[in-house]
């Protein structure tokens, strides 16, 4: 595999500095997504707090309990990464190891392809359909294809370590995207970019707390158990509320899944029965199935007083916000998410230095600014 790589390396070097010039001259700043918003958006590098001695000893409502989940990149000694060829991004080959299929990821892949085209790169997509075993095979297949760089979306945070280690050993630079790998995994990564899941869920908590007047009780619907979004989107809200609105009590947390609005509706109906007027706010971890189920349950019970807020920006969510049924959603744009790793890759091929990890600035979408986010990306 390494033979092939040096071969392609020398070839592009033969093309001379010409390719680098052309690559650097590419105008990517003006690229737009389907809504006319910039395809490549501003990113930020978050501050990391001091790591507590033993996070597990802290209560679950303390954000530092989740230190390893929220800041897996902290205190990691990066292994030595391949040196940039610094010969321009045009003509480079990328492989996108996708974690699975989902409307969000359809938009993501579209943007990755669009971005690669802008930079004159070739991108091949392999989707694991949420199956680690298939992703393991695809990691090997990707290595076998000897691309210039791999964009990697892990199926699972922890299992990603073995995959990343393999790709690292094969000498292929990897940019993580969309889902953060665990602590161990980060050492193998050239860079990571993606949505700031914890931050957006905290932002959601802040906005909802303000709307609720920093009082009242809430329930949380989690994402699929086990995934990184499961922790970030539930405990981001819970820890933040414990900090800024200590009067707000978490009544219950349930995981009815992300496949069936009917299941979600059932859980929310049961909550309304059980808690009655005590229930003031519902947080959902997703805005298609879960928002629909929650809204329908509340409407059926005639409880228009309950505030519902969810994470991400599906068309369903934006419509609900317009109709006033959903208090707010957060902006996690899949297209920008998908374009970002390509930008990082291009920069790296062009010899520019890139950050170890960057995140997309989250934003709250509410009735006042919803028009800015339309048409929806998925």
């Amino acid at each position: 595999a390494s033979d092939t790589q040096t071969a392609t390396g020398t070839e592009t070097a033969d093309a001379g500095g010409d390719n680098l010039e052309k690559s650097k001259a590419i105008d990517w700043q003006s690229a737009k997504d389907n809504a006319g918003n910039p395809l490549f958006i501003d990113t930020f590098v978050p501050d990391t707090p001091e790591k507590p001695a033993d996070p597990d000893s802290l209560p679950e409502t303390d954000e530092l309990h989740w230190f390893n989940f929220e800041y897996p990149y902290a205190e990691i000694q990066k292994l030595e990464q391949p040196a940039s060829p610094a010969d321009g991004c045009i003509g480079k080959k990328l492989i996108l190891l996708k974690n699975g299929d989902h409307p969000y990821h359809t938009a993501y892949i579209e943007a990755t392809k669009q971005a690669a085209e802008i930079f004159g790169m070739e991108v091949e997509v392999m989707s694991a359909n949420w199956d680690v075993n298939i992703q393991t095979q695809q990691v090997d297949q990707a290595i076998n294809e000897a691309p210039d760089l791999i964009i990697y979306n892990p199926v699972d945070q922890e299992t990603s370590v073995t995959h990343l280690r393999k790709m690292y050993d094969a000498g292929i630079p990897v940019i993580g995207s969309n889902v953060m790998p665990s602590n161990e995994g980060f050492q193998y990564l050239l860079s990571f970019c993606g949505p700031a899941d914890w931050d957006q869920s905290k932002l959601l908590a802040q906005y909802m707390a303000e709307k609720a007047g920093y009082k009242g009780n809430y329930c949380v619907i989690t994402h699929n158990p086990g995934g990184s979004a499961y922790y970030a989107r539930a405990y981001g809200v819970i820890t933040e509320l414990a900090k800024i609105a200590p009067d707000m009590v978490c009544l219950d947390i349930q995981s009815p899944g992300t496949d069936s609005a009917e299941n979600v509706k059932q859980v929310v109906s049961d909550w309304i029965t059980k808690y009655g007027d005590d229930l003031d706010v519902i947080f959902t971890s997703e805005t298609t199935v879960q928002a629909t189920g929650s809204i329908e349950a509340c409407e059926a019970a005639g409880r228009s007083d309950i505030l519902i807020g969810g994470i991400d920006n599906s068309e369903t969510a934006l419509n609900y916000i317009k109709e006033g049924k959903l208090t707010c959603a957060t902006n996690q744009p899949p297209m920008q998410d998908g374009a970002l790793p390509v930008l990082l890759a291009a920069k790296w091929f062009n010899g520019e230095t890139i950050d170890d990890y960057v995140f997309m600035e989250p934003a709250v979408i509410n009735a006042d600014n919803v028009e800015d986010f339309l048409p929806a990306q998925w």
Binding site: I134, D140, E145, P225
Partner: protein, 335 residues
């Protein structure tokens, strides 16, 4: 002429899975970019490890005329238990052993539910699956358990013999051993008899309940072994590997049916089921080489499965239609 054709047909149906595998393999080698090289073939074989080991027990249960829907849950229990034990003791041996023991215990419970409580295996194991999956998720709040010790990963990725990674080698050795056991020992043959006709097995002095419990515990053992080895290989175990996407269960059923096992019992072969797994893995691998998405893979998987069962059923249908016919009366009719 006719006899030759009949012989040829019989040969084809007996070796169906090898022919399908060969067809997929040759087509992919010819047309799929980067499919046919030692590295990718090693990848393909390695990927077959998990399902290849698990399909052993799954097939034994099918041979006995039952179905174990809790197999995937057992894989998850085993993976989590193995990683937990490695975390606690630092020894992979202890982890794998504990997982296999747990798998056997679960298998015995399944077997007892089927033989003693006389619950249809489809239903008993469906309930068992819900129960076990709940337990696994509860035990670690659905988080993936992981370790940072990669000795097992490296060992399983090494190649003692060229092309074949150790994880594939282990699977192949186990498959061959169990295949030998099932096809060449009297005890193995008895499983077929129990699946073929429970009553006649009982008349023959075989205790069908013992064999059924045995089959379910073997399924527990191999599902657990596969799950544990796979978890050790990935240095982590998810709470539910089948939570999203297509459950490995579907893959197992498809592979063993391709291999000639029937849900009615009495038929099936460990080696054929393993080749069923290899065929599907090669199919997925090759379609990925073609840059076709996962949707195409399950579509093709479904079509292959459909064609195979349909062909089998149609030939049986034809055969039944002609059963008892007298060939000389045909000759007369044609004249």
């Amino acid at each position: 002429m006719d006899k030759d054709r009949k012989k040829w047909m019989a040969f084809c149906s007996a070796n169906r899975v090898y022919l399908i595998f060969a067809a997929v393999f040759v087509l992919m080698s010819l047309f799929a970019p980067r499919f046919f090289n030692t590295y990718n073939i090693g990848t393909l074989l390695g990927t077959a490890m998990l399902n290849g080991i698990v399909v052993i027990g799954f097939t034994i249960v099918l041979i006995c005329g039952h179905l174990d829907l809790s197999t995937v849950a057992i894989i998850n229990v085993a993976g989590n238990l193995a990683i937990y034990m490695v975390q606690k003791t630092g020894s992979f041996g202890a982890g794998i052993l504990a997982a296999v023991v747990a798998g056997i215990v679960i298998g015995i419970v399944n077997g007892l539910l089927v033989t003693r409580a006389k619950i249809n295996s489809f239903i008993a194991t469906l309930g068992m699956s819900t129960l076990l999956q709940g337990l696994v998720s509860y035990s670690n709040n659905a988080a993936t358990r992981s370790i940072t010790d990669f000795t097992m990963t490296d060992f399983l990725d090494k190649k003692l013999i060229p092309i074949v990674p150790n994880r594939a080698l282990i699977a192949i050795i186990i498959v061959l051993l169990v295949h030998f056991f099932m096809s060449r020992t009297t005890m193995g043959k008895n499983f077929y008899l129990v699946g073929g006709n429970v009553e006649s097995a009982w008349y023959a002095g075989i205790r069908p309940e013992h064999y059924l419990i045995g089959a379910f515990s073997l399924n527990g053992a191999f599902a657990a072994l596969g799950g544990a080895l796979y978890a050790c290989y990935l240095a982590s175990a998810m709470a539910d590997i089948g939570a999203m996407g297509v459950s490995p269960l579907n893959m197992l059923i498809a592979a063993s049916v391709l291999g000639g096992a029937s849900l009615a019992g009495g038929r099936g072969s460990i080696l054929h089921s393993f080749f069923g797994v290899l065929t599907l893995t090669a199919l997925y691998n090759g379609l990925t080489c073609f840059k076709l998405g996962y949707e195409m893979q399950i579509f093709v998987n479904g079509i292959v499965l459909m064609i195979v069962v349909l062909m089998e059923a149609v030939s049986l249908y034809r055969k039944n239609k002609l059963a008892g016919s007298k060939s000389d009366l045909f000759k007369q009719a044609q004249n």
